[in-house]
Structures are given as C-alpha cells and as structure tokens.
Symmetry: C2
C-alpha cells in the first residue's frame, strides 16, 4: 500500500469514520480503521457492535501507487492526521508491520494490525432505496431521539420507531412517561416497521451535520439492519429486535380536551427553568431519571400560575398566555425537564398545550407546524 492524498480530504472522511469506532471493545482489532486500497479505489471502514461505516474516498488529490490492505489503531491515526499541518500526506506500508505517514519533514510510523483478524462486515445490498433528504431525516431524529428511554428495563424503548403508512413516515420515541411523535411526507414505499437504537441515530445525526441539508439519502432496510447511503458513505446500524409498543391510543381524543392554552414558547421555557430551581429533585424508583416537579394551575379567572416548592424555598409566578380556552380549572404537576425538552424541539414562537385534566397526559404542539406532537404524563398529585 502506498498512496498520497490531501490531508484535509482524508481528515474529513476520518471524522465520519470515527463515529463507527467502538468506545470500548474486548477485540483490539475493532479499535482499528480498515484501510483498503485497490489500484483505483480507497475504502475506509470502522465498526462497533451497533454501527458500521464504510467510505469510498474519491478525490482528485488521491494518487494510489500501490494497493494493499491494513488496519491501523483508529484514535491514534485520526489524532495524527489531525495534528499534521501539511497539505499533502503520503501513507505507505513498511514490511506489513508499520504504516508510515510522511509529509514535509515529518515521519510517523504506526504499528498496524492484521487485516485478516478484522471481521468481514456485510452491508445490505443496494436495491430498492427508500428516499428522504438529509434535512428531513436529521430534523426528525433531533425531534424524537431525546424522548427515548435510557435504561435497559424496556429494551425496545431504547430506540426510535419508524413506520410508514401510504406517503407518511411516522417516527415515535417514548420512555413511557413522555412521547415524541413526528410525521413526515415521503414517497410511498413497501411497508416497514423498524426500531433504530437511539445511540445509532445520535451518531447518524452527527455524521449528517457535515452535509448539505438538501443532500438526498437512500435508506436500505433488511430484517435486522438499516443502511443509510449518501455520497460515498455507507452508514449501517443494527435494528432493535422486538415489537415497539402500540402508542396509537396515547394521543388524547379531541372531545376529551378541556383546556387549551397558547403560550409564547420562550416565555414559558424561561419561567419553567426558573421555577424548577426551587423544585423537589428526586430519583423516583419507577421513573428512570431525576426530575424536578413543577405545578401548573389555571383558576376560575383563567389565570395561569406556575409554582414549585422544595426544602430551600418556594416559587410562584403568573404567566399571561396568548390565548386560553378552559372549561374547567386545572391543577397539574409534571417534570420541568420533560417540558423544557419538548419546548426545545417544537418549532415556531407559539405553542399550544391541550389538557384533559390534572391526571391525564397532555399534548404540546407548535401553532405554526403540526408535524410534531409532544405528549407528557403528569405526576400523581397527592393532596
């Protein structure tokens, strides 16, 4: 193996590849990046227990003198390419023991691993893609993935469910105390119902950050894997194995809604952040995280009040909503974290919250965009 390439081009590709490296692995060789140079093409591959990424490096600066295959320690290799400040860099194998990196007055040798020890990674065959653009997928991930569970108690809730229905793609994420539901217009496609690990989606989102929002993505789906292809990148992840719970009855029916309040989003967010400073913060056994409980009250005069109290003190503030339709007074307690996280992803300046009563789940939507629905289960209030 012997090739020369622009350092920045190589670094760009390695930044993508790094998202496929394992954080911890008992198999040393998996910490490596496979470099595979044929006489014409250069492939980089990394893989962990969830994700495999392969990139075909195409660039006018790439000159392959000699093909070859090797595995280099991933982190060290990336650190070095990052630290080089030369425009071009030459990489070649010495006696199949070391990879030499050479540029200007610098010579770095890295001890390599045996490519025969590297597992054979099977990518799904590239037939019959489901098409979606980069912006749509990235935004849909962002708007749902935070709502996933983060304990292994309910393994299926560790992922986002993707289901298509005619020309709609529906993404659902929940930890069973809150739910995020996103609907997207797509082209019709064979029906699928898959659940992608949240961690893989986090990495995919980071990888897509570097790309133009209009970039078309091709998704290939098999029984237990999904492959996302764009430009010369293959990003493949395993799927969660099992049935995602049916959440179709979580969204309250229109007729049950008794209170609808419109808020300025930023104003509500600031108030909830402030009131949660004096919230009781507890680690509930049944809940998977620490939460700060805040109380929202709507009285007979339809004034909206937020309040909280803990050992250090108590807070109370009145919020003037943009609009309110209330048929009943309301008192409801919920996690400020869930509310703030929902507000963070809802687009637009105005949001609408719909309540049934103080004991039932409530719904948040943007006034200007109804493709995203956020649902939060309240705390039980003991009086």
């Amino acid at each position: 193996m012997n090739f020369t390439i622009d350092r920045e081009v190589l670094l760009d590709k390695l930044n993508i590849i790094s998202h496929g490296l394992p954080t911890k692995t008992p198999m040393k060789v998996m910490e490596g990046i496979m470099i595979d140079a044929t006489s014409e093409d250069l492939f980089l591959t990394a893989s962990n227990s969830d994700i495999s990424i392969q990139i075909l490096v195409k660039d006018s600066s790439l000159v392959i003198q000699e093909g070859g295959k090797t595995v280099v320690p991933g982190k060290t290799f990336i650190d070095l390419i990052k630290a080089f400040d030369s425009r071009k860099i030459t990489l070649f194998l010495i006696e199949d023991k070391m990879l030499m990196l050479k540029a200007d007055r610098k010579e770095y040798r890295i001890n390599i691993m045996d490519p025969l020890d590297y597992p054979d990674i099977k990518f799904i065959s590239l037939e019959n893609p489901f098409k979606i653009n980069c912006y749509d997928l990235k935004r849909a991930i962002e708007e749902t993935v935070f709502a996933c569970a983060n304990t292994t108690k309910s393994p299926m809730l560790l992922g986002v469910n993707l289901k298509n229905n005619a020309n709609k793609l529906i993404l659902t994420a929940t930890n069973s105390y809150r739910l995020s539901l996103k609907t997207l217009d797509v082209e019709t496609y064979d029906p699928f119902d898959i659940t992608i690990p949240a961690k893989s989606l986090d990495e995919l989102e980071k990888v897509l950050e570097a790309y133009d929002e209009s970039l078309p993505l091709e998704l290939y789906i098999s029984k237990n894997k999904i492959l996302v292809k764009f430009n010369d990148v293959l990003f493949q992840t395993r799927l969660l194995d099992g049935n995602f719970p049916d959440t179709s009855n979580v969204c309250p029916k229109e007729k049950d809604i008794k209170v609808v309040v419109r808020f300025n989003k930023d104003e509500l967010q600031t108030a909830v952040n402030r009131i949660s400073i004096l919230s009781p913060v507890e680690k509930d056994k049944d809940r998977e995280m620490t939460f700060a409980a805040v109380l929202l009250k709507i009285d007979q005069n339809f004034e909206v009040e937020l309040s909280s109290a803990n050992i250090q003190g108590a807070g109370k503030e009145t919020i003037i909503p943009i609009d309110i339709k209330a048929y009943n007074p309301l008192m409801i307690g919920f996690s400020s974290k869930y509310l703030v996280e929902a507000l963070k992803v809802l687009p637009g300046n105005e949001i609408e919250i719909s309540f049934i009563d103080g004991s039932k789940q409530f719904v948040l939507k943007s006034v200007s965009d109804n493709s995203l629905v956020e649902i939060i289960l309240p705390f039980r209030l003991d009086n």
Copy 2:
C-alpha cells in the same frame, strides 16, 4: 430587611461573591451568602476555608427601605437572580424565616439561615497598601500559577511565592520538576516573602477577569493573610504557612550554557503536540502527574530533531530553528506537557531555549520580553 436593586447589578456582585463560596463544607451556614443591609449600605460576604470575599454594593438603583442581616443559601440565591429576567428586583425578609424575591409577576421565597451562626470574618485593616495594577497581577498569576505542584506531598509548592526586592516583585512557582519565575517592576515597599495558595490565585484571577486592566489594586499583607482591595471588593485569602524553598540556584549560569536555540513559538508548540501523540504516557511514582516524554536531538550539523516512540508507533520530525548556537551535540528528553505549558505563557512569537547538557534543567524565555523565565528539568535518559 427590604431593598430594591437592578437585577444585573446584583448579579454582577454575586458573580464575584460566588468565588468565595465553598465547594464542600460540613458547616451548612458557610454555603450561604451573608446579606447585610444597613440603612445606607449593602454588604455581601462569602467565605470558605481559604478565601473570604466582601463587597460593598453601591449603585444608584439601590434603595434600602429597611436594614437587616440574613444568610441565604448561596447557590440557590445566585441561580434565582440569574434566572430572573426583570430589570428590578425587590428583596425583603418575612418573619426572619424567609427572604422574598419579588419582581413583576414572580414571587420566590428562600428559607434563610441564622446570621448569628455565620462566623465573624476578620479582614486585614486597610493600612499601608502595596499597589499594583490589575493587568500586571493578573498576568503574573497566569504566568506562574500553572507551575505549582498539585499534590500535598510538598505543601509549600501548592502556592506561588511572592517576594519583593527593592523595586522588583518576584513570583516563583514550582512543582520541583519545572519552575516559573516572573519579575515585575513595582514601587518599593517593606520587604515581604509570602506564599499564596494556587487555588486562591485561580479564583482571584477569575474575579479580576471582569475588571478593566488599568484598575489599581491595593494589597494588604499580614502574617498569615493577604487582602486584595479594588473598587468596593475585599478579596482575602490565607497564606501557606512555612518557608518556600530557595530556588535561586535553579537558573543555570550563563557560562554553563552550551546550546542556545531560537524557535518560532507556534511551530515548536505544534510539533511538540504532534510528536507527543506517539509518546509513552506513564504515571511516574516520583512525579506527580502523567507525562508524555519527547526527545530533542541536535546533531553535529546542528539539525534539530524531535522524536518519540511508544507501543503504537514512533514519530520523528526536523524543525528548522530561527537561530542556533551550539558548541556540543545534544540529546535531551522532557515532558511535552511541561514544554507546551511553558510555551503557552511565554509572550511573543520567538522563544529561546538554553541548554547546559542532556541531564540538566533548561531555560525558556521570550526573545522580546525577559520578565518571565521558564525552567524545565529533563527526564533521565537510559541508554
């Protein structure tokens, strides 16, 4: 107690006060900020085992309706004032049990602590100040404090020594493997020789960040404390108790210097950072930190080469110095961390390194400014 003040003014003062709060303390009341309002003046005080800070709040927006004294939980109080978005805020005591914070449509009550439980903090009397300006002190701290020890093995090395000599102020910090020595022109003053805890200097530096560089500071020194006064702030810290080691013989004598090399600072720094990627990183029993060892060689042709080698590979690069005066070839190994940290504080673009030989301490100075001297002890090279 009952007063009204501009929120931003109060927050600015609290940001300073926060540097005096303890991170951990068995005494609950010490987590508090003492608020002391006389009919005309408002004082804020915080204190931990090292530092005490007191601020006299003077502002045209301050209106004291009623004096009083209380202690509020520091972190919660600051978090709330930060989170308020009102221009003005009113604070008053309710039945000596709670402090009420009121603004617009917000009402927050904080449970207070008994001011009688708060220790009586003695500040040094404000007589006979040693004067220095903010920029000079801030820069001198920055240039020395990083070189202090961070283990309690040698307690005196946990601080920076300040000594005056005629119209010179000399700051010395060392962990016994590297040393930073700063000399400043000052007005003559009674001789002192004190060692200030590095942690206190870190906090002082952060506090001074908010101030204009031309701000005059007044230093008051007692046997075991130093008080820094500026504007309406008193920043007092304990001193380290003991004799700082004599380091006067650490700086090599001119006649012993055998190799002098001038480098472009950024170029050397980049090269050392890069070469240290393939350095052996070890936690030495005798040394207090992990270090990455790099090797610098100057051969008969006076070429300068940096190299390193670890289990993952080896690196080598030639650096072209701006100038070199060498009477002997040289091979010296040292901690890349120490070199990079020294380069970071040395001013200007060009630096000069003076070597005796491969086993003796070497000296780094800026070519344009000789007020700062950095000295590093090499590793023992086993051949």
